[in-house]
């Protein structure tokens, strides 16, 4: 099993290394290498899933690790942790990744950096698969950063566009803000538990090694990483911009897999979340689900609608992790991966058609703009049908996968609210249900605007064609995976996932915090859960249908005039259309503030610190000038004075030396007289 997992993990890495180095010179620019590698990984992951299904044991677990860093006190191992959760998510990742690889053969055809695109996809697959299989938080963090850099490279794939380059940078930096929290969380864990291993942490938390406020803080800080990666409020701003990347990337990374890594992390760490930490998680998720949905309604860029929808759906999953609806949250992660990847690939198919049509007609415009679409149903039948299936799944309509999982989340949230004494917690299901109406509404607004009605741009419409098979077949595959029974086998009841393999294999882990305290942290009685589930299901079906109906009233039957309506709620519309001005707010405060602060420090460095250095040099230099002056005029002056005096004396004395013998004789005679007189006295 471990060997199998290693192959699944490392094959894409090998494809990356070969492709980045010599991909350009390979036949077909090496796409077959990347596709082949992930294809084999996909098949191997199916084998792994098959084994798990044969085993059919909720407590299935295979672990294996090798020592890595050993400093004596600190030991870090590298290893894999394969339980049902990991196996299922590995299968989901490799499935979506494989389909996206295949789809990209058609979508990226003719791109000058074709080989590099596949190389990056391979690197991403490697990192993502590693992220969900590692047995320790340190390894997860490493892969977490690597998927981040892949995301950066792929968002900025069309790097000559400034908007793309900006978006990539923004994505990475905003994620780093979350990772800052993640890192501190990790440090709390290692400094108390002494290990990053998931099993060891579980035991240590259960024994109370890490407890109380610090445990809550660790939980919330680790969650901060998830807030960044899963684009939760207030760090969601990078995801809509990330749509600058090629559409297959949006499908794979920014819808199905990487952004779900935050949810995965919360699932993995669910055992160590205290009640307070869970509340934070639940409210951040719940608020995000509603907040993002309200932005999605007014966007005109087909991918941006989907991006906000992704944020909103991730909010659902995060909320589920917070209210203890662990199974439902993880279930939604998997179903959402399928239908949201499908939605993006479908929108990619539309954009691809728009792009080619624009090239042919010579019209310059934004191929993502829904205001240029309409009526594509007849021209793109496969894209249309599959798109509707994905939308029904996302809206939570029975017989589609999204119904099962979303309904389970809403039921779980309601159950949580019902089990709590504080009625304020009814806010959480309220967030969820309101978001559900909006979700159905914006999805059908999107479908009607794109596929139904009259073409809004006839000349573009003329050249719209269905995409090649290499792109539509992945769509069909994902549509198939969005049907409900895939997840409920052997039961075929469309009402809920109970009795299916999925809910059998995935169980909420025993909370280590509960073990530590000796009593359950969060207890939801069975009858409450049941009642909540039935009510939740009814409400959510009604709400979803209402949303769809509203969309038809607005956009298809046009019973309500959209223009007039938006005029009447102008301030609200403007808020939603401008994404609540979050980008502007961050730009004005954080970004400008940082740049100004940098400039100030640089000025300080140049003028104060270096000023002192140069200043002391100036002082020394001037001191030595002065010293030199003193030396020259005073010290040396004295010396010269002595010398001059000697010289002058010498000069004056020299006059005696006339060289005439008679003078000397005169002197000698006078001297002799003088001496004689002296001796006589």
């Amino acid at each position: 099993m471990i060997k199998l997992a290693l192959f699944i993990w490392l094959l894409p890495l090998a494809a990356f290394v070969i492709n980045i180095l010599i991909g350009k010179r390979l036949p077909r620019k090496g796409d077959w290498l990347s596709v082949g590698a992930i294809g084999i990984s996909f098949i191997l992951s199916l084998i792994m899933l098959y084994r798990v299904l044969v085993d059919y044991d909720p407590n299935f677990l295979v672990q294996g690790s090798v020592p890595w860093i050993d400093l004596g006190v600190l030991k870090l191992n590298m290893g894999l942790y394969l339980d049902n959760l990991a196996v299922i998510i590995v299968t989901a990742v490799s499935t979506v990744s494989f389909l996206v690889h295949v789809y990209s053969i058609g979508y990226m055809e003719g791109d000058p950096l074709y080989n590099r695109f596949f190389a990056y996809l391979s690197l991403f697959s490697f990192s993502m698969l590693g992220l969900v299989m590692w047995d320790n938080l340190f390894g997860i963090y490493m892969m977490w950063e690597l998927v981040g850099i892949c995301s950066y490279l792929l968002i900025g794939f069309y790097f000559t566009k400034d908007s793309a380059a900006n978006a990539g940078k923004k994505a990475f930096i905003v994620n780093r803000v979350g990772d800052f929290g993640f890192l501190i969380g990790l440090l709390i864990v290692i400094s108390t538990v002494g290990s990053f291993n998931l099993t060891t942490i579980h035991q240590a938390v259960g024994q109370g090694v890490l407890h109380g406020g610090l445990l809550t803080a660790a939980g919330i800080l680790l969650f901060a990483g998830a807030v960044g990666k899963s684009a939760q409020f207030p760090l969601h701003v990078w995801l809509p911009d990330a749509m600058e990347g090629p559409t297959p990337v949006s499908a794979l990374i920014h819808a199905a897999t990487m952004v779900a890594a935050g949810v995965y992390l919360m699932a993995r760490l669910n055992f160590m979340l205290t009640f307070d930490a869970m509340l934070v998680v639940a409210y951040v998720g719940g608020f995000t689900s509603l907040f993002a949905a309200t932005i999605a309604i007014t966007q005109n860029d087909i991918k941006r609608v989907l991006a906000y929808s992704t944020i909103s759906q991730l909010g659902y999953m995060i909320m589920a992790m917070g209210v203890g609806a662990y199974v439902a949250g993880f279930f939604h992660l998997v179903t959402h991966a399928m239908f949201k990847a499908g939605l993006f690939l479908g929108s990619g198919s539309v954009i691809h058609a728009m792009h080619h049509s624009m090239e042919k007609t010579g019209i310059h415009g934004d191929p993502n703009d829904m205001r240029q679409m309409g009526g594509f149903r007849k021209k793109m039948p496969y894209t249309h049908i599959t798109f509707v299936i994905f939308s029904l799944a996302l809206s939570g309509i029975p017989f589609f996968s999204g119904f099962l999982s979303k309904d389970a989340i809403l039921g779980g949230t309601l159950a949580f609210a019902m089990s709590q004494s504080n009625p304020i917690h009814y806010l959480l299901p309220t967030f969820g249900f309101v978001a559900a109406i909006i979700t159905a509404f914006y999805m059908f607004r999107l479908i009607i605007n794109t596929f139904y009605g009259k073409p809004k741009n006839e000349s573009l419409f003329k050249h719209i064609h269905e995409s090649p098979k290499v792109m539509t077949i992945p769509l069909m595959a994902l549509a198939f995976l969005s049907l409900y029974f895939i997840y409920t086998i052997p039961s075929i009841s469309p009402a809920g996932p109970e009795g299916g393999w999925f809910t059998h294999l995935i169980e909420r882990p025993i909370s280590a915090v509960a073990t530590q305290l000796g009593h359950p942290v969060l207890f939801i009685p069975e009858h409450t859960e049941h009642a909540a589930h039935v009510n939740g299901m009814l409400i959510s079906i009604i709400f979803a249908l209402t949303g769809i109906l509203l969309a038809y009233l607005f956009y298809y039957w046009k019973k309500i005039d959209v223009e007039k309506f938006t005029q009447r709620i102008k301030p609200l519309y403007a808020l939603s259309f401008n994404k609540y001005y979050m980008d502007e707010l961050y730009q004005a405060t954080v970004v400008s503030g940082l740049l100004l602060w940098n400039q100030m420090l640089a000025w300080f460095d140049l003028h104060v610190i270096d000023g002192i250095v140069n200043g002391s040099a100036w002082v020394v230099r001037n001191f030595s000038f002065m010293d030199g002056w003193i030396d020259k005029y005073i010290v040396d002056g004295l010396v010269n004075l002595v010398a001059n005096m000697t010289l002058a004396f010498g000069k004056s004395v020299r006059k005696i030396e006339t060289g005439q013998i008679q003078n000397y004789i005169l002197g000698a005679v006078l001297g002799a007289f003088f001496i004689i007189i002296l001796t006589m006295i």
Binding site: I69, L71, Y141, T160, L187, I188, S191, L594
Partner: protein, 501 residues
């Protein structure tokens, strides 16, 4: 003569030979420089294969490897005493590696090649000498010998403000040397050789606290001596606020000299603290550790913020060095296994990564003849291979997992957090700022629309790739498999921290 001496003096032998070759024979001069710097690398690599991983070193002569211990000037108890342990060997190897790479990077130096290569080889010898010396006097000699070629290499072959930069570098470092000299003499007169009873320059004798006389055991004396020594080393690191020589020296120095400056010379500061200050004054090291941690955090953040404000690419890389050296300081200030191992690993890792960054700046400067970040743009279009290699180096600088910088920083954080929680959290903020300035730089240089001026600019050539690729491979190799280094350093460093009370 042992292998350590061979590795040390091999380059200077080349310098001597170069002196006898007429300056017109350019290629002969270059090939001699290449062969002799490579020779040193071959010897140190061979030593690595012979290295005994379990041996401690630090303060016990029998635990050192490849020791050569001879009398030199017996009248003043000066000895030729060299050897390596886990603390010094990675630095020795890195020095010989970067020495060789710098020769290749200097291939097209425009003027007075004979003098340049002769001085460079002298510098190479002095640097290796600093890392292998176990006699304080010998250490000091190598330390000073290093200064002189550096002064000329910056002052003659540098950029427009080379003279200012060279003098600033020289005087600043000299100030540190003077302080070091004073401390060395104070130690010489107050440490007793346990065998002969006389004075000694032997560092290992100085580390034995029982050899200190009563004057040297006084707290105030020890404190001031430690401080003087510390300032001497701090200038070299450089620790805030002694860092302003660095951007000037880096910007004016030719590419290969910047590589050596950032890759090796900065590490001598922290190496000196670990090799000399800590074991000789462990009590004061402990006493001042909080201040060192604070200085480390200041270096990390201040360097990163100021780097972000730079418009000159080389200055930006220079300030990033200030920031990255902060991790070394933070790691060594906490005396935990993870912290100090992370610090030394960071010394090695930063040596490689910053060398790559300076080489990368050199590549573009040779073609565009300027370094204004905003004057480029879109270079990934016209120089794809260069952009790829540069991105790798920049990602390494922002601490991407899979490369050495990540391991080093992670270990430092792990080691520091259990001691100084708040400081570590503040320092961790640096990962955001670092990502910001690195990615912003990558964007302004490589991404966006291609600046039409550089449409036909040539991509990186084979010689330049030859300097960069080995370093890139090393950061990845040791980033995934750090054991060869960590196993080497941990024995010595884990012992070193036990000396701290």
């Amino acid at each position: 003569m042992g292998l350590i001496s061979l590795a040390t003096f091999f380059p200077v032998l080349g310098a001597l030979i170069i002196l006898f070759i007429p300056k017109e024979k350019l290629s002969t001069i270059k090939i001699i420089a290449l062969v002799f710097s490579l020779g040193s690398l071959v010897v140190t690599t061979f030593l690595w294969t012979q290295y005994q991983y379990g041996m401690i070193g630090i303060n016990d002569e029998s635990q050192f490897q490849f020791v050569e211990h001879l009398a030199w000037i017996p009248a003043f108890h000066i000895e030729y005493f060299v050897g390596v342990d886990g603390l010094s060997f990675p630095m020795v190897w890195l020095t010989s590696l970067l020495g060789f790479i710098a020769v290749v990077a200097s291939w097209n130096i425009p003027k007075a090649q004979k003098g340049y290569f002769a001085l460079f080889l002298l510098l190479d010898t002095a640097m290796i000498g600093v890392f292998v010396s176990l006699d304080f006097f010998l250490f000091y000699v190598f330390w000073e010998v290093m200064l002189l070629p550096m002064y000329f290499l910056i002052g003659i072959w540098g950029g427009p403000r080379r003279e200012y930069a060279a003098i600033k570098f020289f005087l600043y470092t000299l100030l540190g040397s003077v302080l070091m000299l004073l401390v060395m003499l104070a130690l010489y007169f107050n440490v007793q050789d346990p065998v002969t009873g006389g004075h000694t320059f032997n560092m290992l004798h100085m580390m034995q606290q029982s050899n200190h006389n009563s004057w040297l055991s006084r707290f105030d004396v020890r404190f001031w001596l430690y401080l003087a020594l510390f300032i001497g080393f701090a200038i070299k690191v450089p620790i805030f606020p002694f860092h302003t020589w660095l951007p000037d020296a880096h910007v004016e120095a030719p590419t290969a000299i910047s590589v050596i400056l950032a890759g090796i010379l900065l590490k001598m500061g922290t190496y000196g603290i670990l090799r000399i200050s800590y074991p000789i004054f462990p009590d004061i090291a402990k006493y001042t550790s909080y201040a060192l941690a604070v200085l480390g955090v200041i270096n990390i953040l201040y360097g990163a913020f100021v780097a972000m404000a730079q418009s000159d690419l080389k200055k930006l890389v220079a300030y990033s060095s200030v920031s990255h050296m902060g991790f070394v300081l933070l790691g060594m200030s906490v005396f935990t296994s993870a912290g100090i191992n992370g610090a030394v690993f960071q010394m090695f890792s930063h040596g490689i990564i910053t060398a790559m960054l300076f080489l990368i700046v050199g590549v573009i400067y040779d073609r565009a003849h300027h370094r204004e970040i905003n004057g480029f743009g879109g270079l990934a279009v016209s120089m794809p291979v260069y952009a790829g290699v540069a991105s790798l180096a920049f990602f390494a600088a922002l601490g991407l997992p899979g490369m050495t910088g990540f391991i080093a920083e992670a270990l430092v954080f792990i080691g520091a957090f259990s001691v100084y929680r708040v400081l570590t959290i503040i320092a961790a903020f640096g990962i955001i700022v670092t990502a910001s300035y690195v990615l912003w730089t990558v964007q302004r240089v490589f991404l966006g629309k291609l600046n039409p001026k550089y449409e036909s600019i040539g991509d990186i050539n084979g010689r330049e790739l030859f300097t960069l690729v080995p370093l890139g491979l090393l950061t990845i190799f040791f980033g995934i498999y750090p054991l060869p280094i960590l196993n080497m350093i941990k024995v010595s460093l884990n012992y070193l921290i036990t000396l701290i009370p």
